[in-house]
Structures are given as structure tokens and as C-alpha cells.
């Protein structure tokens, strides 16, 4: 197969200094944009930062020999999902003057401390044993000491490998997924449908039963003036 997508990356990229450089740059970009999503005041800016984050993660997928998912990530996340997000942001016209929740005292500090603790636990438990040089994935198809590498399963190309699994072992979940997508589309239509008795304008109805006193007076004046003209 000479399709570009189906090719495994050249051996001199995976497991080499180039991988180290690409990983370092992309990891910094992913972390920075992820932090900006949390910190930035404007929701639209946060959404644009999230787009960059999705692209960075797509590059990481390609580095991890998952070319099919890298392309799917760009199409589905950076294409479809971010368009939905930006569409809703523009539709609602959200301006964000208040950034952080202030209802619970010390919520920000507690969240950051818990986050640091979670990073320590996750890195220690999940990544600690794979940080040494023996956990570098081999490029030439030989089994490494800790990392097996995907040279074998990706032999026919990554798309062929994933597709073979998807349509044999995971056939039933794949079909259920199609049902899930249809149900989600129906649910979004039902939720987004405007009720018949609802006002045409999108503005929220506030105190409809009690008009303000000045409005009431002006209305009464107009009505009385109309009455005087008639009589």
C-alpha cells in the first residue's frame, strides 16, 4: 500500500532524536494551551487555545504510531467538535467577566492543591517505572525491554490494523456506536426544539407579570388620552 496514511513512519523518526525534539516541543505546546484554556478570561480565546491543543495531541498520536487516530483527531475534534463549541459561543454571545467560581471559600486553592497531588500520584503510579532509557520503544521491530512497539501490528499499515480489529473483534461495539450517534442526534434535536408557546425572542423572561411602575403609568396615560380623543 502506497497510501500515505497507511504507511508506517520511517524508522529513523520513531525512536530517535527527532522523536525527542518533536515530543518536547509538542508537549510544551499541549501543556501551555491546556493551561490557557483554564486561565483565559475570554471563552472564545479558550476555545481557540483548545484547537491548538487538539492539533498538538494529534501530533503526539502520530508520534505514537497511531496515524489513523491522528487524522481522526483532527477531523472530529479540531473540525467538528470545535466548530460546535465556537458556534454555541457565538450564538449565545457569552461575555465572561467573572472567571473563577467564588461560591465556596478557598475553592481555587483546594483545586490546585488536589491537582498537584493527583499529578504526583498518577505519574508515580503510572509513569514511574517507564521513565528510564529501557522504556524507549524500538524502531526496527525488535521487542524492546519494556516497550513492545507497534512495528508488528502496524505491519500492513495502521489503518488496516485498526480496521481489522474494528470489524472483527469489536464489531458489536461498533454497531452500538452507530445507534448511539443516532440517539445523540435525536436528543440534540429534541432539546434544541423551541416550544410552541415560547416567545420568539431568545431573551429570558424576567418578571413578566409585574411591569415596572413607570411603564404602568405611561400605559395608563396613553389609554386615558385615547379615551379622551374618542369622547
Amino acid at each position: 500500500m502506497d497510501v500515505l496514511l497507511a504507511q508506517t513512519p520511517p524508522a529513523e523518526v520513531v525512536g530517535s532524536t527527532a522523536e525527542l525534539w518533536v515530543f518536547s516541543i509538542v508537549a510544551v505546546i499541549a501543556l501551555g494551551t491546556g493551561l490557557s484554556v483554564v486561565v483565559l478570561r475570554n471563552a472564545v480565546h479558550a476555545a481557540l487555545m483548545l484547537v491548538i491543543n487538539f492539533f498538538a495531541i494529534a501530533v503526539l498520536y502520530a508520534l505514537l504510531e497511531a496515524q489513523f487516530l491522528a487524522v481522526v483527531q483532527i477531523i472530529v475534534y479540531a473540525g467538528a467538535i470545535m466548530v460546535l463549541f465556537l458556534f454555541v459561543l457565538m450564538l449565545l454571545g457569552i461575555d465572561s467577566e467573572t472567571r473563577f467560581s467564588t461560591r465556596v471559600r478557598g475553592q481555587r486553592t483546594a483545586a490546585v492543591l488536589l491537582g498537584i497531588a493527583l499529578v504526583v500520584v498518577l505519574v508515580g503510579a503510572g509513569a514511574g517505572q517507564f521513565l528510564g532509557p529501557d522504556a524507549i520503544c524500538p524502531a526496527d521491530g525488535s521487542t524492546g525491554q519494556l516497550c513492545a512497539g507497534l512495528a508488528g501490528p502496524n505491519g500492513d499499515g495502521n489503518v488496516a490494523g485498526v480496521g481489522r480489529l474494528l470489524f472483527t473483534t469489536y464489531m458489536w461495539p461498533f454497531e452500538v456506536t452507530s445507534a448511539l450517534l443516532v440517539i445523540a442526534a435525536l436528543g440534540a434535536m429534541v432539546l434544541g426544539k423551541r416550544r410552541a408557546n415560547e416567545d420568539v425572542t431568545d431573551l429570558p423572561v424576567v418578571d413578566e407579570e409585574e411591569p415596572g411602575p413607570e411603564d404602568d403609568g405611561r400605559l395608563r396615560e396613553l389609554v386615558s388620552a385615547g379615551d379622551e380623543e374618542q369622547t
Partner: protein
């Protein structure tokens, strides 16, 4: 041979997940909280693909594919809910959605 040890990917995934988690805990706007949920889903996908390479089979990538599909469905329904919440309350501030509390 110089390369990237597989643990670095897992560590990056953990940091991205925590960033999203702190965002959900800290932010007020429901839309930004939703974006942070997407961030967490992405980091879990990254971990799954890393484990797929670590173990040398493609099952993790298939699972990650399913996660992407479910995330797409979730975004559709969630954004419809957010639009409905904005129609009802006039804002997307999570602190304003306290009708059961007051």
C-alpha cells in the same frame, strides 16, 4: 539510542488530565467547564494510545476511537443542554443554576 521513554507520554497525559480537572473545579462558565471535560477525554485517549504502543497491540487504539465517537455524541447533547440553560437562566454561569438550592 536516544528516544522518548514511554513514561513521558503517560506523565504528559496525567498533567493534561489534571489541568482539565482543575478547570472543571475552578471555572464558572459551563461552556469552559465543558471544554475542560474535552481536555480530560483527550488526555485519556493519549494514555490509551500510549499503552497500545507499550503493549504492542492495537486494542487501545480501537478503544480510543470509541472514546472519540462517544465524545462527539456527548458534545452534541451537552451543547444543546447549555443552550437550553441559557434560554432558561439568561447566563451560562454554573453558580446561577441553583434553583434547587434556594
Amino acid at each position: 539510542m536516544s528516544g522518548v521513554p514511554i513514561g513521558w507520554y503517560i506523565a504528559l497525559s496525567a498533567m493534561l488530565f489534571t489541568t482539565g480537572l482543575v478547570g472543571v473545579l475552578v471555572r464558572r462558565s459551563v461552556v469552559v467547564m465543558f471544554m475542560c471535560i474535552e481536555l480530560m477525554l483527550n488526555s485519556v485517549n493519549l494514555a490509551l494510545i500510549t499503552f497500545s504502543r507499550l503493549h504492542g497491540n492495537l486494542d487501545g487504539q480501537v478503544l480510543s476511537f470509541f472514546v472519540i465517537v462517544v465524545a462527539a455524541a456527548e458534545v452534541t447533547v451537552g451543547l444543546a443542554l447549555i443552550v437550553n440553560m441559557f434560554r432558561l437562566l439568561g447566563s451560562t454561569d454554573a453558580d446561577n443554576a441553583d434553583r434547587l438550592r434556594s
